[in-house]
Symmetry: C2
Subunit: 139 residues, 2 copies
């Protein structure tokens, strides 16, 4: 009888995050997104569902959700943050320099090497960012 949508809301409530109309609209946008939208895009899409959502609330909500571990913030180019739901398994990004397309990938070997390197330097990794920027290999 549980569904993922209700689950994530309960989890948020359990963390002391109040569920408002606006936050539901923003969460909905993030759940439907297949890209990595910017705050601006999220605002536009959220307003389709709830006309009242403001820019300030989008930024505030994204900050709240990020702190709660529900969303991830990315900074691929220098033109502002891009967001995604943190509900799937961890992955890194490959950005196509020609099209701007963002491809997700994961490598357990790289993850392991990162931890090894950090350990050698006397550190525990809290999180990391790995982005590859490239172009399609010519045939």
């Amino acid at each position: 009888m549980t569904n993922p949508t209700q689950d994530s809301e309960s989890e948020l409530r359990a963390e002391g995050v109040r569920i408002t109309r606006q936050r539901l609209a923003i969460l909905h946008v993030l759940r439907e997104a297949t890209d990595h939208p910017r705050a601006e895009d999220i605002l536009a899409r959220a307003r389709l569902q709830d006309q009242s959502v403001s820019q300030a609330t989008v930024y505030r909500t994204l900050a709240v959700l990020e702190k709660a571990g529900t969303v991830l913030r990315n900074e691929f180019d220098g033109t502002g943050a891009r967001f995604e739901l943190a509900d799937r398994t961890h992955h890194d990004h490959l950005i196509d320099l020609d099209t701007g397309a963002v491809i997700e990938f994961h490598s357990a070997r790289i993850e392991r090497l990162q931890a090894e390197i950090a350990a050698e330097l006397g550190y525990d990794i809290e999180w990391h960012r790995l982005e590859l920027y490239g172009r399609k290999t010519p045939d």
Copy 2:
């Protein structure tokens, strides 16, 4: 009879970059830096050598030097770019979340894995960004 300082200036000149008093001051700052200074820091330090350097020139020069391959731009936190000379061998960064210290490291194995992964996805890597964020391992 050549020295690295003169070399990099000749190289820049060869690329069509004019060597001005202000650019020399900025290059000097970057050569002396042991940290990863922000534009603001570079401006302050450059002015110690040449009072006339302006903020606009710092940004413009950093953009010119970046395009020329002389400096690297980093975005560790969301609070603005940090720069470093690109004269040493390639490296990635480990950022200490408690102190903000930036530790440089390099792993040929990770580099190789990155290339492999990109190749599997049909891409050639142009450049990449790998940052580890962590804390000192407790004893």
